[in-house]
Structure formats: structure tokens, C-alpha cells
């Protein structure tokens, strides 16, 4: 899993019906010290995360294992809101 920061939202009306009601967010992967990296990912939110929050993003087919994501066509899901990262 990677740590990412929420940068924005995506609105899509015409989409696969299994994505109905799912919130799509734009996230940018960040380093463990909180500094930004480049690039972004569109991820489905499963926890109710908000703007600028640090979140855990799971990628690949494992994203479908999150509760509520069964058989949903996603390859990136936000599965946690990070409180602290403690690196020695």
C-alpha cells in the first residue's frame, strides 16, 4: 500500500453501474516524511476521506477486496485515513 494525499474529486455521470454511488478522488502518492512525489491516481473512497488528508491506497486487484468493492471495476481504493506515520 502507498501513502497518498487527497488532491481533488472526480465527477462522472456516465460510468459502469457498479461504480454508482462510489466517490472518486484524485490522490498523489507522498513519501513517508509527508513530502510530495509526482503523478496522481484516481481512487475509489471506501472510508469517507476528505481533502488534504493522508490516506492509505491499495492498488491492483486487491482493491476489490475492500468491503463494498466486490466485483467493482477498480484498481485503486482508499482503505484508511492515516493518523500518524512513525519512522525510525
Amino acid at each position: 500500500m502507498i501513502i497518498a494525499r487527497i488532491l481533488g474529486t472526480v465527477v462522472s455521470t456516465q460510468k459502469d453501474e457498479r461504480l454508482l454511488g462510489k466517490k472518486l478522488l484524485i490522490v498523489r502518492p507522498i513519501n513517508v516524511d509527508g513530502s510530495d512525489t509526482t503523478g496522481y491516481v484516481v481512487a475509489v473512497d471506501t472510508v469517507g476521506a476528505g481533502f488534504h488528508e493522508r490516506v492509505l491506497v491499495v492498488a491492483g486487484s486487491s482493491a476489490r477486496l475492500a468491503q463494498g468493492m466486490k466485483d467493482v471495476p477498480v484498481d485503486a481504493a482508499i482503505v484508511g485515513v492515516i493518523d500518524t506515520v512513525d519512522v525510525q
Partner: protein
């Protein structure tokens, strides 16, 4: 699978219900000379590893297999603790 060093912990109170009770650790991948390579990742712990330990982890959907019968959304799981650095022969 890759060798890695556990370098930290992650706390997330709000998380997907299927991650409830799982320990999250920060791992730094190592090369065959046990030097850091690549960026640290957040891994779910399946074996009871701790900070500072040498471990190996697996990526992809297989990472959820240690938690079989309960779907656990993880693409990076610690699946073994290396006994010691001396046990890594090069």
C-alpha cells in the same frame, strides 16, 4: 517476494472494516546486499514482525492470501521474518 527492513509504524483509526485489527508497518525494500532500494511501502503484518526486523514481503493479490477466508484489501504483506542477517547468503 522481496527482502525488506521494518522501519516504522502507521496508525489509521478510520479504515475499511476489512482492515480492522490489522497491524500496519512501513517497510523499506532491500537489495541482495541488504542496501535500501526503492521507496518505503506500507505493509500489513501477517507474522508479528516489529520495527528493525529483517522480513520478506509479497505484493499483488497474493498479499491477501495469508488472511484467507476474510477478504483483506492489501497489496503488500509481510509474510516472513528472516532469522538474522547471517542467514541471507549471497
Amino acid at each position: 517476494m522481496q527482502l525488506a527492513r521494518v522501519i516504522g509504524t502507521v496508525v489509521a483509526t478510520i479504515k475499511n472494516d476489512s482492515l480492522e485489527g490489522r497491524k500496519l508497518l512501513v517497510v523499506q525494500t532491500l537489495d541482495r546486499n541488504l542496501e535500501s532500494t526503492g521507496k518505503p511501502m506500507v505493509a500489513v503484518d501477517a507474522v508479528g514482525a516489529g520495527v528493525g526486523e529483517l522480513v520478506f514481503w509479497c505484493r499483488g493479490k497474493e498479499a491477501s492470501f495469508p488472511f484467507k477466508r476474510e477478504d483483506t484489501p492489501t497489496d503488500c504483506t509481510i509474510i516472513g521474518i528472516v532469522d538474522s542477517e547471517q542467514h541471507v547468503t549471497r
